[in-house]
């Protein structure tokens, strides 16, 4: 175990901005996939620049910079404590960064928006631990996630239209829970809950999906199915997946970002990253 201070170079992003797609602001313009209302002129759906977060002196994120392109499927890996979840907290407004920029599209400043505003503007998040509304049925879970007016008054008068029902049925079949539509969500298996939560994200129809360890606790078959699902989602949506399962990462990701001690250590294709000396050291050397 080493306890040396972080070498200076590690604080710098270790990538070549010109060589990787989706890492700089003018890369890979898949702007047509972005939803209405969101300004993605430069093809970047998420911009994090020089984000710092510290908890009572402990630096959880240090000068983190990261860009996600429209329609990209990005995997984030990194050892425990690298700051993956904190980063998601920053994006979803749960944690406010000490400084730095966080933009959704070109105009929405995430550091100034509330969690609800962020969610309504089109960022969906799946938690590490599957979180569904356990007391409601599968159908009702999806109904709540449905993209619609979510104000109090609307909910008092809400009635599902046929179109909306069809949409729910469609998602139910996508996540293979048609047969459990009236079951209480609390009674589902762990894997089923994972799918239900993914289903809820789909109902929300967000432009950017943040997925925290989506395949934890899934069988191999389920994992495979999830990988297919995510791949089909990309292009239409942008995805950011945090995962430990390298097999899964390998099966879905075109680009991988390695976080270490609160900043980006390496970025590139999985093979490149796996060959990176520093990454090996981080993963194996300690």
């Amino acid at each position: 175990m080493r306890a040396t201070p972080v070498p200076e170079f590690m604080l710098e992003p270790a990538y070549d901005p010109n060589s990787d797609a989706g890492t700089s602001r003018d890369s890979l313009g898949l702007g047509r996939a972005a939803g209405a209302g969101l300004d993605v002129r430069h093809g970047t759906i998420l911009t994090l620049e020089d984000i710092n977060v510290s908890f009572d002196g402990f630096k959880a994120l240090t000068n983190l910079s990261l860009y996600i392109g429209v329609g990209e499927l990005r995997c984030i890996i990194g050892p425990n404590g690298a700051g993956k979840t904190t980063m998601m907290d920053v994006i979803t407004g749960k944690t406010r960064p000490d400084n730095g920029k966080a933009y959704f599209g070109e105009t929405l400043d995430l550091t100034r928006m509330s969690e609800v505003q962020i969610a309504q503007s089109g960022i969906g998040r799946k938690f590490q631990k599957p979180t569904v509304f356990e007391a409601l049925s599968v159908f009702e879970n999806l109904e709540l996630a449905l993209k619609t007016d979510k104000s109090v008054w609307a909910s008092l008068r809400a009635k599902l239209s046929g179109e909306q029902r069809d949409r729910i049925d469609e998602v139910l079949s996508t996540i293979k829970l048609e047969s459990s539509r009236h079951r209480t969500a609390g009674l589902l298996s762990h894997g089923q809950k994972q799918f239900l939560e993914i289903g809820m994200l789909l109902m929300q129809d967000p432009q950017l999906l943040l997925l925290d360890e989506p395949v934890a606790g899934m069988t191999d078959a389920e994992t495979e199915f999830t990988a297919e699902l995510f791949k089909s989602l990309a292009r239409k949506h942008s995805l950011m997946v945090v995962e430990h399962d390298m097999g899964f990462v390998g099966s879905i990701a075109d680009h991988v970002t390695v976080l270490h001690q609160g900043s980006v250590l390496a970025e590139g294709s999985l093979a490149d990253v796996q060959a990176d000396e520093r990454v090996i050291e981080v993963y194996l050397g300690r």
């Binding site: 969690e115 007391a135 879970n141 979510k150 909910s155 209480t184």
Partner: protein
């Protein structure tokens, strides 16, 4: 089973039976006050004592229902509902005091050598304004408190402790004679309501019917809410608030709505309670009363609509009986009830009934 929208009985026993029972109970509750109108020597006559007692319990049932809306559905345990109840009661009491004082000042103000009414008594001689106050006083207080509390995401135990502190502060404030609400004595010795003698049989009957009507309306309202998407959002809120936020719902609005609604229901119940029992004073705001209301809900079964009503009836019925039969053991019984319910009846009497029904 963890059924949130729990027309539990309706689902288990079939809507027809529930409706049937409901109709019978409602009929009894309507006939009861009418029997009161019979002359005293008639063997079927329902005494004023019985009527007042049942009416009082029905008022408590409304409080229990209101508390259940926030606790059972939205997961916010309020230990301060007594405050809203008392505020509604005081608003009505102000009208009754003005009515009995005629053109002069209420008696307690004369005592304190006050020469004019404080500004907040303005207009209380009008029944309609008093009714507005019944809604506004608890409603606005709940709105302001809820706005701040929900904005900073106070929930769970913190919320309970804050509401308890709130009602405690209210009690201290109303205990002060300078506050202008009669201090410790509160309001009593009412004479007329809308010109009718408050002790007359007819007035009591009308009051009782008003209470029954309010309870029925509250039940219907609760049922509608529980059935709507709003009810499902509340349940979701109770179980996974973060998830709900990331689904794009703003929990504050939902909490605030149900919180204010619940406070207003309590205020209305208090307003009907006061002319019936003939007194309102700050002890209604004591934290003990509010916490007792929580046990009505817990005993009946929270998250269901009929449970709290049943709970309020059982606890208060027991109380009336115990305080006569074994006055010294009432607190033991109440205490044991608290423990037994939380340990062995987490879903309350309703849960028990349902379990039996399933077997």
């Amino acid at each position: 089973m963890n059924q949130p929208i729990s027309l539990t009985l309706a689902q288990k026993a079939g809507p027809k039976l529930t409706l049937g029972i409901g109709a019978v109970v409602l009929a009894i509750l309507i006939i009861l006050p009418l029997l009161h109108l019979l002359p005293a020597d008639n063997s079927l006559q329902v005494s004023a004592y019985t009527l007042t007692l049942v009416g009082k319990i029905l008022c408590y049932a409304i409080v229990a229902l209101a508390l259940d809306l926030v606790w059972g559905y939205a997961g916010l345990l309020s230990l301060g509902h007594g405050l809203f109840f008392a505020l509604g009661g005081y608003a009505m009491g102000m009208y009754l005091m003005r009515e009995s004082a005629g053109d002069g000042l209420p008696a307690f103000m004369v005592f304190l050598s006050w020469t004019e009414l404080p500004w907040y008594w303005t207009g209380t001689q009008h029944f309609l304004w008093a009714l507005c106050l019944v809604v506004l006083a608890p409603g606005l207080l709940a709105l302001v408190f809820g706005f701040f509390a929900f904005r900073s995401r106070i929930k769970g135990v913190y919320f309970s402790i804050m509401t308890q502190a709130l009602t405690f502060a209210g009690m201290l404030l109303f205990f002060r004679n300078e506050t202008g609400f009669g201090g410790n004595n509160g309001f009593t010795n009412f004479r007329t309501i809308l010109g009718f003698d408050i002790t007359a049989q007819g007035t009591r009957t009308a009051l009782f019917l008003a209470i029954v009507a309010l309870l029925t309306c509250s039940l219907l309202l609760g049922w509608r809410l529980a059935k709507s998407k709003f009810g499902r959002v509340l349940t979701a809120l109770r179980d996974a608030e973060n998830r709900l936020m990331f689904c794009g719902y703003d929990p504050r609005g939902y909490k605030l709505f149900i919180w204010v609604l619940s406070a207003v229901l309590c205020g209305l119940a208090g307003a009907l309670y006061v002319p019936l029992v003939g007194i309102i004073n700050p002890s209604e705001m004591s934290p003990t009363n509010s916490i007792e209301a929580a046990v009505w809900v817990a005993l009946g079964g929270r998250g269901s609509l009929i449970g709290p009503i049943l709970g309020a009836g059982i606890v208060n019925g027991m109380k009336s009986w115990f305080t006569v039969a074994f006055p010294e053991y009432w607190l033991f019984a109440l205490g044991a009830l608290f423990i037994v319910v939380t340990l062995y009846l987490p879903k309350g009497v309703i849960g028990l009934l349902r379990k039996k029904g399933e077997q």
